[in-house]
């Protein structure tokens, strides 16, 4: 029975994540438009796009991996979502709660892109493979500061689980954002790469690579990919909130905090032109990693 409730809760969480993620996506477009001094699409534009895509006919496939590629992607984002505690007290939207472990999290986050990469690989479109290698390369870049930040937290509080960190955060009473500022900075900078917004969006460069890994995916495939992206966005933001901003007790607080975090990569991206892959990698291994190092030093000293 408990399991059933948990599964139900997971599904609800998924739906919320989907909706929130989609809305954030739409808001992103809207804000971008406002920054560029235009009206922009309505904030629900992403929903329209998603439904349109799902209603579009999908008449072809390039083989089984191509067919299932988006499912791999979805596994990754939903698993991430399930591991990240959405609310501090788990009263609402309980998820399956695997005692979310950070190392596991890092790895499950890469599961999807790799599965997707296989799918796009099977299409035989060279652009897709190029995009994938760019994405993977960039991942090597941003994972370093990201892991540094996480490790700094882990060694400071002697736990590798998200819940453990949240408890530690609750006990100290200070958000890690303030008690471990360097880790926070490193993690935020890594987040730029994770979201693949503007300076780091060479992976799916539309005109150069014809949107890269997604280039052969339309219709349903793209719909699943899009929803996966939305869920993933929400999961990642929640993770950041849990880790650095003291978690959230209820939905409004959660939305507030996540949106505040979400603004950072968006606003940075709007003002920064695209990096080449190696530039992006070097960027991540520069200041972000330096902050990560500072974070570790701080954690060791404390």
């Amino acid at each position: 029975m408990e399991l059933f409730i948990n599964i139900l809760g997971a599904i609800v969480t998924f739906l919320v994540a989907f909706i929130v993620g989609m809305t954030y996506g739409g808001l992103n477009r809207k804000i971008t438009a406002r920054v560029q001094n235009r009206k922009g699409p309505p904030f629900y534009q992403n929903f329209i796009d998603a439904f349109k895509l799902s209603s579009k006919e999908t008449a072809i496939h390039h083989g089984i991996m191509h067919y299932l590629g988006p499912a791999f992607l979805m596994v990754s984002s939903v698993m991430t979502l399930l591991i990240v505690p959405v609310f501090t007290n788990n009263g609402w939207f309980p998820n399956l709660n695997f005692k979310g472990d950070l190392i596991f999290l890092i790895y499950i986050m890469t599961f999807g892109p790799l599965g997707m990469a296989l799918g796009s690989g099977q299409t035989g479109n060279p652009n897709a493979a190029i995009g994938v290698t760019r994405g993977l390369s960039q991942m090597v870049g941003f994972e370093i500061p990201w892991v540094m930040a996480l490790i700094a937290l882990m060694i400071q509080y002697h736990t590798t689980s998200i819940e453990g960190l949240m408890e530690a955060q609750a006990q100290t009473g200070t958000w890690f954002m303030f008690s471990s500022p360097f880790a926070f900075i490193a993690a935020i900078l890594a987040m730029f790469g994770m979201f693949r917004y503007s300076p780091f969006d060479i992976v799916s460069a539309p005109t150069e690579l014809a949107s890269g890994p997604a280039s052969e995916n339309g219709g349903k495939y793209l719909f699943v990919m899009m929803s996966s992206g939305s869920v993933f966005t929400f999961a990642k933001l929640t993770l950041y909130v849990d880790l650095f901003l003291g978690g959230a007790a209820n939905l409004p607080v959660l939305l507030l905090k996540t949106f505040a975090l979400y603004l950072i990569p968006i606003l940075y991206g709007m003002t920064t032109p695209r990096y080449r892959t190696e530039q992006a990698i070097r960027w991540f291994w520069g200041w972000p990693s330096f902050f990560g190092l500072l974070a570790i030093i701080q954690a060791v000293i404390l």
Binding site: A59, I60, H61, H62, G63, M65, Y67, L68, P70, A71, F72, M74, V75, M79, F98, K99, D101, I103, F104, Y107, I108, T110, F111, L114, A117, L118, G121, Q122, T123, G124, N125, P126, A129, V132, T133, L136, S137, V140, G141, E143, I144, V147, I151, M154, I155, T159, T160, S161, A210, S215, K220, V224, R276, T277, E278, I281, R282, W285, I296, V300
Partner: protein, 615 residues
């Protein structure tokens, strides 16, 4: 314990019989070969009792044979992988030349590895070590084409290691007057400081060569890629583990009795980390699957070395679990490459592409193996990686863990390259005729792949023997608190529950797969890989659209400075320098008899002048 003798006799006799059976018929040869390996394997597991030792004295040296739990653990790798690879080789070697030679060396290698595991004294350890070395060397020169430098390099490095080990062995002997490993470990803390430093270094050289540790790894890519793939799966999967085995039973055990050993362990762990990082980077650069896997092996062994070297409970568990996993997935991957090589005749990514629909089972095993290699849940590789990270973090190796993390993230690049290069991409007309490999080759691969999947959720199957082995070596009484059959803990008490993870991953995957197939798989139509959106252009039949050259170029550009120089070149330059020095030196022999006579008188005069010093 006479069973052990019997096993070795079966191996030796089987090797010779197999060699000569080739004249009677290839089927008979296959049967004898399989019977030897499988028979000895089953005899080993049926008839050999653990912790039952026997001694004998050839040449006045006491040799002790017997197997303990730790050896038994590695015997799983050696014999398990060996048996599967043997079945595989029957398919692989069909229609190839020099089968007798191959089988002979194959059996001898397996025998030597088993011998290493059963020897409880350093001399028989060394003897089997060397048998292993030269039998694998003979395998490396199996092709006999352009490979001579590779084989030579392998042998020279092995010899450097072996001689270092021999030196350490006799040094130990001069102190303890026995060759028993146990006595050596007991005597080690009482030795003088310089010996305490030198002996581990010498042993490390030996094991480091076999385990392809960083400055000593340069033989590995060539040797792995030039021996027949059926053997390379054993070579990389099991034979390199002997280095790890030696490290654990000798180095780690020895050092753990000594407080100053921390320095050594740190050095070793860092060497492991560097090996992992550099191995990964070079693997990304390779265009040949064999080379890629060879470098990947180096990198993976780096993780294992790191895990073993940090020497904490979790670290040892992680290292050894990774060792087992590496045997499984690298064995599988080399078999995959072998199957592809057999079916297509090449292993170059730039040549062969789009095999997924032609060799689905091979692809399936390659996929699982790659997932395990990359350490992605829910397969077994993740368990090892997780334990390694946790071990590193909980034992305060903060920078090392980042290095390791970098390596394993970058590993995704070559993992993807491997799968993409062979199975994805354009399905060229050139490879239209390619068919799935024969059953004897596919079955071992798929079996191993499935076993990896099982280990991902029930790692206790392997962790239990590891635990027994470590207890046997005299480490802390039990590690049971670190894992349950499918739950892992770190020493801070955090845990990962594997089974529900598997279930939920499968459930989510199935759900979305159904969503995708909702209107029916039939509703969609397969289109060939020529039918892609390439700016409206219709790719011609012979137009190669596959992206395979300069695969991860941006990444390689980013890490360019690190890869500017190969360690290989330093060795080559050193060797060239030595040779030219030798060339200079041999001109002492001028060829003029008179000069030689003058040498005699010069010698006499010098000795007479210095006679007070000399005598």
């Amino acid at each position: 314990m006479a069973t052990l003798y019997l096993i070795f006799i079966i191996f030796l006799g089987g090797a010779i019989l197999t060699y000569y059976a080739g004249k009677l018929g290839s089927v008979l040869q296959d049967i004898i070969f399989l019977a030897t390996i499988l028979g000895a394997t089953s005899l080993f597991y049926a008839g050999v009792h653990i912790n039952d030792f026997m001694s004998f004295n050839p040449g006045g040296i006491t040799l002790t044979w017997g197997i303990n739990y730790f050896g038994w653990l590695f015997s799983l790798i050696v014999l398990g992988l060996g048996s599967l690879a043997a079945v595989y080789s029957v398919g692989y070697m069909k229609g190839k030349k020099r089968r007798g030679y191959f089988y002979f060396n194959f059996i001898l290698s397996i025998m030597a590895m088993l011998g290493i595991l059963v020897s409880q004294d350093l001399i028989s350890f060394f003897i089997f070590w060397e048998i292993m070395t030269w039998s694998s060397y003979l395998m490396v020169i199996y092709n006999g084409k352009d490979d001579q430098k590779l084989g030579l390099k392998y042998f020279i490095f092995s010899a450097i290691g072996a001689y270092a080990m021999l030196m350490a062995i006799v040094m130990v002997h001069s102190v303890t007057n026995t060759f028993l490993i146990g006595n050596m470990i007991e005597a080690y803390p009482q030795m003088s400081l310089s010996w305490q430093i030198w002996i581990p270094i010498l042993f490390l050289t030996a094991f480091g060569v076999k385990a392809a540790m960083m400055p000593l790894h340069v033989w590995a890519p060539g040797a792995y890629s030039s021996s027949p793939m059926a053997y390379t799966s054993v070579f990389s999967g099991a034979l390199s583990k002997m280095g790890i085995y030696g490290m654990v039973i000798i180095l780690v055990t020895m050092i753990s009795h000594l407080p100053q050993g921390i320095w050594f362990r740190e050095t070793l762990a860092w060497l492991g980390g560097l090996t992992a990082a550099l191995g990964t980077l070079w693997a990304i650069k390779q265009d040949d699957a064999k080379k890629l896997l060879a470098y990947s092996s180096i990198a993976q062994l780096g993780y294992i070395i790191t895990g073993v070297a940090i020497g904490t409970e979790l670290g040892l568990l992680a290292g050894l679990f990774l060792a087992v996993m590496h045997a499984l997935f690298k064995g599988t991957l080399f078999m995959v490459v072998g199957a592809i090589e057999k079916q297509t005749g090449t292993t170059n990514f730039t040549e062969v592409t789009g095999l997924i629909r032609k060799m689905p089972w091979t692809f399936f095993s390659a996929l699982l193996a790659i997932i395990a290699l990359a350490g992605i849940p829910p397969l077994g590789g993740f368990v090892g990686k997780w334990m390694l990270y946790e071990a590193l973090i909980t034992s305060n190796h903060y920078l090392l863990v980042i290095l390791i993390f970098f390596a394993s993230t970058a590993a995704f690049l070559y993992c993807y390259k491997f799968l993409f290069g062979f199975f994805m991409g354009q399905e060229e007309k050139e490879w239209e005729h390619v068919k799935e490999a024969p059953a004897t080759m596919v079955v071992p691969m798929v079996l191993m792949a499935l076993f990896m999947a099982v280990l991902g959720s029930w790692p206790g199957i392997i962790l239990n023997p590891i635990n027994n082995g470590l207890v046997d070596l005299g480490f802390v009484s039990t590690y049971k608190h670190l894992w349950d059959t499918s739950i892992l803990f770190n020493s801070w008490g955090n845990q990962v529950v594997l089974k529900p993870l598997l279930y939920s991953v499968v459930a989510i995957f199935v759900f979305f797969a159904i969503v995708l197939i909702w209107k029916g798989f039939k509703g969609t139509r397969y289109v060939s890989t020529k039918d892609i959106s390439s700016s409206g252009e219709v790719p011609g039949e012979n137009e190669n659209l596959t992206f395979s050259l300069g695969f991860a170029q941006p990444f390689l550009r980013a890490v360019g400075p690190v890869m500017k120089r190969q360690i290989d070149r330093y060795y080559t330059e050193f060797a060239d320098g030595l040779e030219s020095f030798f060339e200079f030196l041999r001109r002492i022999y001028t060829g003029n008899g008179q000069t030689y006579a003058i040498y005699v008188f010069v010698f006499v005069v010098i000795v007479l002048l210095f006679k007070d010093v000399l005598f």
